[in-house]
Amino acid sequence: MVREQRLAEVFVELADTLVEEFDVVDLLQTLTERCVELVDTDAAGLMLDDQRGNLRLIAHTHESARLLELFELQQREGPCLDCFATGQVIANIDLTDAADRWPVFTRAARDVGFDTSHAVPLRLRRQVIGALNLFSTGRRPLSEEHLAVAQGLADIATIGLLHQRAVRDQVLLSEQLQTALHSRILIEQAKGVLSAQAGTSVEDAFTLMRTHARRSGQPLTTVAAAVVAGHVDAGAFQQAAGPFDGPHSTGNPAAR
C-alpha cells in the first residue's frame, strides 16, 4: 500500500514544480527517485527517444556502473525498447524466466541481482517519447495501485517535457527532447569536474549540485554550466550543504 501521506506530499511537490520554471533533467531525476520510494521497486531509470531512432538514458537512481550498463544495453534489446515501440506497459517481468525474450538484458539484470522488472511508457496521446524502467530484487509483482502510481509518474515526466503546447508541434518536441539530452551531458561533465575538485564520488557531486540549485533557486543545468566554466568551486557547495538537504528534500524543512 502506498503511504497516502507521502503520496500526497509527492503530488504537491511535483505539481508545484510544474507550474514554476524548472529544469527538465532535475525533474526527471526527482521522478525516478520518488518512484523507488513510492512504488515497490529498488531501482529506476528513465529513457528518452533521442529522435535518431535510439532510446537514451536521461535519469536514474543509483550511480553504479553495472546499473548504467543495464540501461545502456536496452538500446538494443529489452523491455524498455519493446515498451517504447508498442506504447504498452510491460509489468511484472519475472527475470528468472525472461531469457528467451531478452537474453542479453535478462542475464545482465540477473548479474546485478534483480529478479523483477517493469517498463512503463512515456506517452502523450498517440506518441511515445520514452520509457520508465523499474527493477527489484526478489519476486515482487506490483499491485494495480503501484502500477498506477508508476504510470502517473511517467505521465508527469511526459508533461514536464511537453508542458507548453501540442505535441504535434515538431519544433517544440524536438527542442525539448534535444535540450534534455544536451543538458544531461553537461550535467555529467559537471559531476566529473566537481567530484575531482571536491574529492567526492560523482554521486555526491550530483547531490551537491542539486542541493545548491534548489537553495539558490537556479536550474540545475545553470549550476552545471557554472561548474564546468569554473565559475563556482567546490567550497561554495560544501558550505551551503546543511542538515535538511538530501535527495528527499524539497529544500523546505516544513514539507518533511
Binding site: 535518431r52 531512432g53 538514458l57 545502456e72 543538458s183 555529467e188 561533465q189 566529473g192 567530484s195 575531482a196
Partner: protein, 239 residues
C-alpha cells in the same frame, strides 16, 4: 551518438575523401544529397560565437555562413548558444527577432527554411551544421533523424580535427571511432579536465587519444579514470 547511422555516414564520408581537410566538405555534400535541402554549411563555433566556415556545399550556403559569421547572429548562433536545434521550417512566418538581418539575407538568397543543429558534447561547443532550403516545410521525423545523425557525425569530425590540431597523439582521422556516449565518458572528461588543468575539449581529446593508443573502448578507460585506477597527471599530456 554511437549508432549505426553515424558510423555509416562517417564511412561514406571517409570513402569519398582522400585527406583530413576534405572530410567536412565530403560530409556536407553527402548531407545535401541525402536530405531534401538546397545547401548545407558547417561552421565552427566557440563560446564567443561563430569562428569561421569549415565547409559549404555551394556559394549560396557559403554566403549565408559568412553572413552569420559577420553579423554574429543567425540560427546557428542561437543553436550553439542554447544547445538545441533551431528549426525554422517557414522563415517568412517565423519570428526572427534575434536574427532579423540574417533573415533578410536568407530571403534575398531565396531561402524559405533553415535548420541549424548544434555540434557539441555537453559544454564542449564545436560548431553548427546548417541546412538551407528554398522551399518552406518541416523535416519529416525520418529526415530529422537523418539530420541529427549527420550532426553527430559532424561533431565527431570536428573533435578529430581539433585533436589533429593539438597533435597530442590523436588517432588519424581515417581511423575515427564513433564516440561512446556513456555517462562515464562525460564524467571522466570532467575529472581529467580538473586533473590536467585542460579545457573539457582537450580532456576529451586526451581520453580519446589514450583509448586509441591502448586499443580499448573509451568507456572502459573512463571507468578506470573514475575508479582512480588510471591517472592523467600533468606529466602525461605534453610531448
Amino acid at each position: 551518438m554511437s549508432s549505426r547511422a553515424v558510423r555509416d555516414i562517417l564511412s561514406a564520408v571517409q570513402a569519398d575523401s582522400r585527406d583530413t581537410e576534405g572530410l567536412p566538405a565530403s560530409l556536407v555534400r553527402l548531407c545535401a544529397q541525402t536530405l531534401p535541402v538546397s545547401g548545407v554549411g558547417l561552421a565552427l563555433m566557440t563560446d564567443d560565437g561563430p569562428a569561421g566556415t569549415v565547409a559549404a556545399t555551394d556559394d549560396g550556403a557559403l554566403q549565408l555562413e559568412e553572413l552569420q559569421f559577420t553579423l554574429g547572429q543567425g540560427p546557428c548562433v542561437d543553436a550553439s548558444r542554447t544547445g538545441r536545434p533551431v528549426l525554422a521550417p517557414d522563415l517568412a512566418g517565423t519570428s526572427t527577432r534575434s536574427w532579423p538581418q540574417f533573415a533578410a539575407g536568407a530571403d534575398t538568397a531565396g531561402l524559405r527554411a533553415v535548420f541549424a543543429f548544434p555540434l557539441q558534447v555537453g559544454a564542449i561547443r564545436l560548431g553548427v551544421l546548417d541546412l538551407y532550403r528554398d522551399t518552406a516545410g518541416e523535416l519529416s521525423q525520418r529526415e530529422l533523424a537523418d539530420a541529427l545523425s549527420f550532426a553527430d557525425a559532424a561533431t565527431q569530425l570536428l573533435l578529430d580535427l581539433q585533436a589533429q590540431d593539438s597533435a597530442q597523439g590523436a588517432p588519424p582521422a581515417h581511423a575515427v571511432a564513433v564516440l561512446d556516449d556513456r555517462a562515464e565518458v562525460h564524467q571522466a572528461t570532467g575529472v581529467v579536465s580538473v586533473r590536467t588543468g585542460a579545457s573539457l575539449a582537450q580532456a576529451l581529446a586526451l581520453l580519446r587519444a589514450r583509448a586509441y593508443a591502448e586499443d580499448r573502448p573509451i568507456g572502459d578507460l573512463a571507468r578506470d579514470v573514475l575508479d582512480g585506477v588510471v591517472g592523467f597527471g600533468e606529466a602525461d599530456d605534453h610531448d
